[in-house]
Symmetry: C2
Subunit: 340 residues, 2 copies
Amino acid sequence: MSGLEPGERDAATLEEVARIAGVSRSTVSRVVNNSPGVSARARAAVSEAIAATRYVPNPAARNLATRRTDTIALVVSEDGERVFGDPFFAGVLRGVSATVAAADRQMVLVMSHGADRERLEQYLAAGHVDGAVVVSLHGMDPLPQRLTDAGVAVALLGRPLTATTVPYVDADNLGGALAATRHLAATGRRRIGTIAGPQDMAAGIDRLLGWRRAMGELGHRADAVVHADFTVEAGAAAMAELLAAHPDLDAVFAAADLLAVGALRHLRSRGVRVPDDLAVVGFDDSVLATTTNPTLTTVRQPVEELGRSTAWRLLAQLAGERHLPPSVLLPTELVVRDST
Amino acid sequence: MSGLEPGERDAATLEEVARIAGVSRSTVSRVVNNSPGVSARARAAVSEAIAATRYVPNPAARNLATRRTDTIALVVSEDGERVFGDPFFAGVLRGVSATVAAADRQMVLVMSHGADRERLEQYLAAGHVDGAVVVSLHGMDPLPQRLTDAGVAVALLGRPLTATTVPYVDADNLGGALAATRHLAATGRRRIGTIAGPQDMAAGIDRLLGWRRAMGELGHRADAVVHADFTVEAGAAAMAELLAAHPDLDAVFAAADLLAVGALRHLRSRGVRVPDDLAVVGFDDSVLATTTNPTLTTVRQPVEELGRSTAWRLLAQLAGERHLPPSVLLPTELVVRDST
DNA sequence: CTGAAAGCGCTTACAG
DNA sequence: CTGAAAGCGCTTACAG
């Protein structure tokens, strides 16, 4: 208790700095904002006064005058539970926060779990942030359009399912799935199933499409499909189901490493040898892929780079950059390990 | 592109609402803030105008006038990497965000990873938030005091290592460790070691103290100690080290479930049977505890409740509540499963 | 290069 | 119960 009431600050204002430096508020403001056209003499006096008073600009006042907040939201359309369990989000977070920090802006992470959705929208639309990177959109979520309408710049990480002009950055999910499935065929597998991800997200849809397309090219029947959420448990259950329906399977493409881990767990419990009896490919190349036994052949997606690119796209847009591409697709790459 | 420049909003202001409702700005403000003393007639007219214009108050203007932001920061003194890998943070996050939301405030999550420390402090001190819940403080971190000095209300989740008047909420780590060690002795273990956590955090220190005290009570030598960071890998390495130095060990108290999981992994690789040859107790009762084989005897700490209590403490303080306790200790509880 | 002044959109005594 | 007015702390044409 330093004698301040809650919420009270004894912070210096521009006014005081100006008085101490013996200049006008205008001049102090120019120095603070690195505006040109200030004499070295004035600049020095102001700098000294700023240091002496430990002056920090009041963001509310600045925001009110400029209509800018210099903060960017990372909006995750999941609840904390899932966010904190999935290495994918850790990578995205790293990428976005590094880029935002490098641009000298602040990043705030907000999650929208159903009930708070209303509050979240209000918060963003009210003008707390200049822009938002929105990740993990499900289905026909109207959030991006709503934010855009409210004047908040938006860039999506992951292709949206709605037809929209909101820009997005995504990994080449289809190409990755295609490569994974071709690899299985190339290594002699004849009966290839898939554990597909949720079909309310582009990542789930596109990876299934890639598998389907490869199966078509190969002239194989694409009938061994089971859907699952992106969790280990769902992966194990899906593997069980797949095996029951198609006992002749000799390979599985799982649409996420988490799913592959679940599949491996089930296969071990059933005594199915990997890769001898059945080959498994994952998707993500998360840390999980190298800690499983056997290590996991998987499709690497550049998670951190996805975060960086999306944040960069957003910042460029805020900077008024013209002729930006409406969307960007980052390459994926097959990483062969011991499970195939 | 709806015709708005980046950052531009076509949002209605109080002024416009007032004009449409045929009242003064004062009256609109009173309705928006649920102030008493507004006629039903005026209130209705204003409500209608608000709906028609989709009016949302400008937070910067409101903040400037009131000196309140209605937002609370959850500050995690770790980098994203670790935050997203540890179930502890997921629970804390749930607790804090639920409590903050219930109080009709917004929560922002900010992480401080070394380099950005400066920016973080500026951000918080500049007045973006009314208060901060700070978790996972290491060593003699001056952050809490700095924030307090800057007029930001602070409540710590976890006892700080510095002598400070900043309030905190913690779990009874010492009591939990005591109970765990006594339990091992009560089930006939004679040679009990410990994998201690980092000694720059109260959680690490207090759990080691609890083990030591129990060993003293039992008249056992407290010499089988190895320190480790709160990760699975460190736990495995520590178990190896412990076993090499003390081959006669028949029990281990690990200061975190993550450490216990690592220990179990190493023991299995060495062919040591749990609990037959060696008993293991963890700490946390995270989801991990029930998924290991054997399931883990552990000390439950009320993670989500820690988050709720700390946030509640902070909000109470902001509300000007008097005579609040400087610190709160929540009980821990031994949960016996198959590893002992 | 510098300063006086208007303005950003609210809240809140104060007077009625 | 209601409104006119001052004030929160900045920025930014504008005039000099």
